[in-house]
């Protein structure tokens, strides 16, 4: 059996999706059994950690929103 390296996101119910191309290539059909070998787990990204300070020095949040507003 060929080995494939795929990356997939775990959903809220713990399910992962095997990409269609990989399913097709390996002949995976509904009710096929597959073996997983998990090599890496990337933790869920935090919005605050991702976003914090990314627009620093761009000014006030509301001013940015109203920049093109006719009613500033």
């Amino acid at each position: 059996m060929d080995e494939r390296e795929v990356e997939s996101k775990v959903d809220k119910k713990g399910r992962v999706l095997i990409p269609a191309e990989t399913r097709k290539d390996l002949g995976i059909e509904p009710d096929s059994k597959v073996k997983f070998r998990i090599e890496d787990v990337e933790p869920k990204k935090s919005f605050v950690e991702e976003a914090k300070g990314t627009l620093k020095d761009e000014g006030d949040a509301v001013d940015l929103l109203h920049k093109n507003s006719p009613f500033r």
Partner: protein
């Protein structure tokens, strides 16, 4: 899951700009509570649209960074993004012109009324003229 409050773009944007600095701690806490699902809020698809308009193409922000910010935004456990309803648009235009507020803000007001929500997390003074709405700049239990 019941969504009792509304969120507009100014709160996540404050986390990004870190300004107004005196509001940053409050906005950060709101986003952290939503992230953990300890606060449940609703917003319309206009909110990520406004955020995208500001973030995308900004110097120093790569496409992959912007993508990562949005991935984290849409993964917020306590956030529900609902469709911006076209049926609300004619009344939205009237409201925006009457109150001299942005179309998106007026559409948020219309959406909140439709959803029977009367509290909004926002820093935007445009919402001050709606006494029937409670404006929140900090997390409230």
């Amino acid at each position: 899951m019941k969504y009792l409050r509304y969120l507009d773009a100014s709160i996540p944007l404050c986390v990004e700009t870190e300004e107004p600095s005196e509001k940053l701690d409050g906005c950060t806490e709101i986003m952290q509570k939503i992230e953990k699902g300890e606060e449940k809020v609703v917003t319309s698809s206009y909110t990520p649209a406004e955020m995208f308009h500001i973030l995308a193409g900004r110097e120093g922000l790569t496409a992959s960074k912007v993508g990562a910010i949005f991935e984290a935004f849409f993964d917020l456990k306590g956030l529900k993004v609902i469709d911006a309803k076209g049926i609300l648009c004619p009344d939205t235009v009237q409201l925006a012109l009457e109150r001299e507020i942005d179309f998106v803000d007026a559409h948020h007001v219309m959406t909140m009324k439709k959803q029977a929500i009367d509290e909004i997390y926002t820093l935007d003074p445009h919402f001050d003229q709606f006494p029937e709405l409670t404006k929140l700049e900090k997390f409230r239990r």
